[in-house]
Amino acid sequence: MTTPTTIRVWESEYAVYRKVWKSHVLLAFVQPLLYLLGMGLGVGALIDVNADSTSTLGGISYFAFLAPALLATTAMMSAGQASLWQVLDGFFWGNRYRAMAATPLTPGDIATGLAMWHATRTAIGVSGVAAVLVLFDDTRSWGLLVAVPVAVLTGLAFALPITAWSSTRHGDGSFPTVIRFGLLPMFLFGGAFFPIDELPVWLQPVAHVTPLWHGIELCRGAVIDSVSPGNVAVHVLVLVAYVAVGWVACRIAFARRLAP
């Protein structure tokens, strides 16, 4: 019985991950926990005494508003970071993808296997957040079982386009910019900490086209049941579109880089 070529790539990524899994899991677990304690409980205590604020949040506590969104933001951050230096390393410093390309694996196999690995790695990180949410009454919900795969989809909507970008680079100069001016603003203004209705009107359409907002709406909806079925379809469709375009872009970029 032969192992699918993409699984062989996945195995390799997993072997490398086994060397660093502790720091990844710890970060994915601790960072959201800190936000939950500091923002969710700390800032939340100030917000929840104000009836107007509570109605802006849809009649729920600030903690219940924020916590599910952290599934999506963690997915974005974890997947985004795994798509920058680690990907370029495979073509530029360590050249592990070049080594793979000299074997029966094709560039397309490598791109798809890596996409599958991104999904796995994001799932591990997001599951850590879900485990934290189970600890609190406000977010202990069967909906977490739906929110985790939704967050993985959100992670892929970032991982694949960024991976495609990284695989065209010849240096890491642009990577801090991607984080500072791409991921970080989305994290802050993408609807995790406050509803995007509170953004200036001209900024709202920007939030609407970012994958993060759609992921947050879905995760929040799954945990506290706040989203209509029609909107669910739109959100899922946007995320799937990002994933599909990103995947095709990865396959093209990998082929160009590995078999010029």
Partner: protein, 316 residues
């Protein structure tokens, strides 16, 4: 085993390989010799099925790389110019993971890894990380890795570039053993001694073309004399003037040694005199009253062949 006709590779306007023909027979050890930029690596990448050919035909194991690339790569081991090891993993993990790319079962990967680590003399390092290994050890590990799939054909792109002399000799010894086992070796090098050590047959490449083909000995016999006399002259001294030789004085220096040996090459730092008997040529130099600063009689090498064919030295 490999058959190339009018093989060509272009990158945009740049012609890296300009229509070359060659054949490699099973069990043979075949080399591409040439300076940097001669087109050796581009040719290797086409043979390795990681670079599509621009024109011409290429068949490896009778298969066409454009349609059967994966099948060809499955039967081929590749030792790239720069090591591509996973530095986070241990020595043995590197081998097992690589074997898995070929879908070799894990237990079999471990068995082969143990055997190959013995072969490349790294067995006692099996469970150490790759990072702290020396350059020569990493090279040997890369060779072990390329052998995980028990390939019929091994491609080596500048296998000993950047290694110290001792590490090179260990590597040559291992490659020689592989050759004795019947593995077909195809390698590139810009070292003449390496080509002479390892290759049954080689082609000399320059500017994307093949300028000569043959066995190392045959090429030397054809394009050089048996021996070479290397002279370092204070050219001014030759003609009895003090420092500061001018072009005219250079001419005089050359006139002074004119006719010695079969042929002469003037390099910036020395003069090469090609002669069947180098000592006799040196005696003639002394007889004419020329006192060289340094002289050396050696057997001629592929370097001389390359110089003869292209008018340039291999390594600038």
């Amino acid at each position: 085993m490999i058959c190339a006709r009018a093989l060509r590779k272009e990158f945009g306007d740049f012609v890296a390989v300009d229509g070359i023909d060659f054949d490699v027979a099973p069990g043979e050890s075949f080399g591409f010799l040439g300076p940097n930029g001669a087109g050796k690596t581009s040719t290797m990448r086409m043979i390795g099925c990681v670079s599509p050919i621009t024109a011409g035909t290429l068949r490896t194991f009778g298969l066409d790389p454009s349609t059967d690339g994966a099948a060809i790569r499955a039967r081929m081991g590749v030792v790239p110019q720069a090591d591509q090891l996973d530095s986070e993993l241990t020595v043995v993990e590197n081998l097992v993971i690589y074997g898995r790319y070929f879908d070799i079962p894990r237990a079999e990967c471990r068995r082969r890894a143990a055997e190959l680590l013995d072969f490349v003399q790294l067995a006692e390092r099996a469970n150490e990380r790759v990072d702290p290994l020396s350059g020569g050890m990493k090279r040997r590990l890369t060779i072990a890795r390329s052998l995980m799939s028990e390939p019929d054909l091994l491609l080596l792109d500048e296998p000993t570039t950047g290694l110290d002399p001792q590490a090179r000799h260990i590597l040559w010894d291992r490659l020689y053993r592989l050759k004795q086992r019947g593995v077909t070796l195809v390698l590139t090098t810009h070292y003449m001694d390496e080509a002479e050590q390892l290759c049954d047959r080689l082609v000399v490449m320059d500017g994307g073309r093949i300028v000569a083909e043959g066995s190392p000995r045959g090429l030397i016999d054809e394009h050089a004399t048996r021996e070479v006399l290397e002279l370092r002259l204070h050219r001014a001294e030759v003609i009895g003037v003090a420092d500061g030789a001018t072009a005219a004085e250079d001419e005089s220096a050359l006139t002074a040694i004119d006719g010695i040996g079969d042929r002469q090459e003037v390099l910036p730092d020395r003069i090469l005199i090609y002669a069947h008997d180098g000592e006799a040529a040196l005696a003639e130099v002394h007889r004419r009253g020329i006192e060289p600063v340094g002289s050396l009689v050696r057997r001629s090498s592929l370097e001389d062949v390359f110089l003869r064919l292209t008018g340039r030295t291999l390594i600038d």
